[in-house]
C-alpha cells in the first residue's frame, strides 16, 4: 500500500468536512450551549463539594477547576475527532463500508481516525483551556515556560492514551460484531477523570488507574499547570503516551489481519 501524500488527502477530507458542517451553523450554538451548561453543572457540583471540604485529595478549589478545564478540553477532543472517527468503526465493520476504506491507497487507521471531524466540538477544547487559564490567573499562579511545555507534552500523551482506549474498545468490533454501544463504557468511566485521582478511595483509584486508565489523562496535565508535576512523572507520562500509540498501531494491525471483509 503506497501512502502518497497523506496530508494532502487529509486536507481534502477536512475541507469537504468543513463545507458540510458549515451548512449547519445553528448546531454550533446548540453545541456551545450544551457545553456551557455542562461546565456550569460541573462547577456547581465542585462548589457543593467544597461547601463541605477545603480540598479534594489535596487539591484546592481553583486547582480542581484547572483540572476541570483540562477534562473539558480532552472530552472536546473525544467528541470532535474520536467519536465521529474511530467511534464509527463498529458501524463500518457491520455495514461493510470498511472494505471501501481498506481498498484505498491510504493508511487505513489514519483515514478512519481523521476522516470526519465535528468541527463545532473543537470549541470545547478552547472553552476548556479558557477555564483552566482563568482559574490559573485568578489565583495568580501563572505557569512558567517549562510548565507549559510539560503541559503540552503530557496533554498530547493523554490524548494518545484516550485514543488507544478507543482503538482497543472499537477493535472488539472485528471479533464481536455488535459492539456499537461500547463507547458507553468509555463515557461512564471517563466521567471519573473530572476529579483528581487522589480524591478517590483506593477501590475506585484501582479502576481508574488500571482497568480503564483514564485517571492519568487529566490529573497529570493539570498537575503540570498547577506545578505539582515532577520531571520523572512527566517523562513517564510521555513514555506511556508513546507506548499507547504503538499499542494502538499493533492492535489495529492484528485486527485488520483478522478481518476478512463483510461479504465473506
Amino acid at each position: 500500500m503506497s501512502r502518497a501524500r497523506p496530508f494532502a488527502v487529509l486536507g481534502a477530507l477536512w475541507k469537504l468536512n468543513a463545507a458540510e458542517e458549515l451548512q449547519y451553523r445553528a448546531n454550533f450554538v446548540a453545541s456551545f450551549a450544551s457545553t456551557a451548561f455542562y461546565l456550569l453543572t460541573a462547577l456547581l457540583t465542585l462548589s457543593l463539594f467544597f461547601r463541605h471540604a477545603s480540598s479534594l485529595g489535596g487539591w484546592d478549589f481553583w486547582e480542581v477547576v484547572v483540572l476541570l478545564g483540562v477534562f473539558n478540553a480532552l472530552s472536546g477532543l473525544v467528541e470532535a475527532i474520536l467519536r465521529p472517527g474511530i467511534g464509527d468503526l463498529a458501524a463500518q465493520v457491520r455495514s461493510g463500508n470498511l472494505d471501501l476504506v481498506l481498498s484505498r491507497p491510504v493508511d487505513a487507521q489514519a483515514f478512519v481516525t481523521f476522516r470526519h471531524i465535528d468541527i463545532w466540538r473543537l470549541a470545547d477544547i478552547i472553552l476548556g483551556l479558557g477555564v483552566s487559564t482563568y482559574a490559573l490567573l485568578h489565583v495568580g499562579r501563572f505557569p512558567s515556560g517549562m510548565q507549559i511545555v510539560a503541559f503540552v507534552v503530557t496533554f498530547v500523551a493523554a490524548a494518545l492514551v484516550v485514543y488507544a482506549i478507543w482503538v482497543t474498545l472499537m477493535s472488539l468490533a472485528f471479533w464481536f460484531v455488535s459492539v456499537e454501544n461500547i463507547a458507553t463504557l468509555f463515557d461512564a468511566v471517563f466521567e471519573g477523570a473530572r476529579y483528581p485521582v487522589s480524591a478517590y478511595p483506593a477501590a475506585l483509584r484501582f479502576v481508574f488507574f488500571y482497568l480503564l486508565p483514564v485517571a492519568w489523562t487529566t490529573t497529570i496535565p493539570a498537575s503540570a499547570l498547577t506545578g505539582r508535576l515532577s520531571a520523572p512523572t512527566a517523562v513517564l507520562a510521555a513514555g506511556v503516551g508513546g507506548a499507547a500509540l504503538v499499542l494502538s498501531r499493533l492492535l489495529w494491525r492484528a485486527a485488520i489481519r483478522h478481518y476478512t471483509g463483510a461479504s465473506s
Binding site: 446548540a30 450544551s34 451548561f37 455542562y38 453543572t41 456547581l44 457540583t45 457543593l48 463539594f49 461547601r51 463541605h52 471540604a53 479534594l56 485529595g57 455488535s178 459492539v179 454501544n181 461500547i182 458507553t184 463504557l185 463515557d187 461512564a188 468511566v189 466521567e191 471519573g192 473530572r194 476529579y195 480524591a199 478517590y200 478511595p201 475506585l204
Partner: protein, 268 residues
Amino acid sequence: MTARVWVRRYGALMRNAWLVDLQYRASIVLWVLWGVMEPAIALGIWWSIAGAGAVGGYTRTDFARYFFALTLINQLTIAWDSWYLDRWIREGDLNFKLPRPLHPVHEAIADNIAYKARSAGTLLLIWVAVSIVWPVVRLPFAPTTILITAVAVVLAAVLRFLISFTTGLLAFWTTRATSIMELHAGISLFLAGRIAPLSLLPPVVSGVASWLWFPYMLSFPVTLLTGAAHGHALWVGFRGQLIWIAIWLVACRTAWRAGIKRYGAAGG
C-alpha cells in the same frame, strides 16, 4: 371482563418488550454500568470528604447506603421515553403506532416495566453480592419500610415516566426535545439528590427544590429506603408525589392532544 382483556394486552406487550430487550443484553449491561458510575463517583468523593467524621450528619456508612439506594431506585424509576418519542415523531415511526387499536402509551409503559425488571433486577443482585463482602451497605431488613418504599418508588416511576413522555412530545414542535430533557437531567443532578443528599445543598437551593417536582422523583424514595424520612416527611413526600403526578398527567394529555392535531395537519 375488561380487566382480563387488559391483563392479556399487557402480558403480550411486556413479553414482546422483554424479548426485544433480550437482543440487546450487552447494551443494557452498558447502560446499567453508565447508571452506576455517576453515583459511584459521587460516593467516592463524599467518602473521601467525610473521612472518619460526618458531613452534615452523613457518615461514610450513610453515604454508602444513600448512593446504593439511589442507584437502585434511579434504575427503577428512570424513563428513556423522551428519546424514543423524539425518534418516533421525527422519523415517522409514530405513523405505524397510531392506527393500532391501542394507545401508543401502553406500549411505552410495558417497555418501561420490562426494562426496569431486567436492569433493576441485575442491580439488586449486585447490591446483594456487594453487601456480602462489604457490610457497610447492608440495610436493616424492615418489611414496613420496604413496603412503603415500594409504593413511593412506583409513584416516582409514574412521575418520571410522565415527565419523560411529555418532554418527548415536544418533538411535535421542536427538533430539540432531547436537549430539553438533558437540561432537566442537569437540574435533577442537584434538585433530585443525584449528586448529594438534599440536606447537604445550600438551604436556598433545597428550598427551591421543595417547590418543584424534583425531590419526589428520586430523593424522597431514597430517603425512605435508607430510613432517613419518617413522620411528617412521609406525609409531605406522598402528598408531593400525588400532586405532581396530577399536574404532569394534565400536561401530558394536553401535549398529546395538541401534538396529534398538529402532526395530522403536517403529515396530511
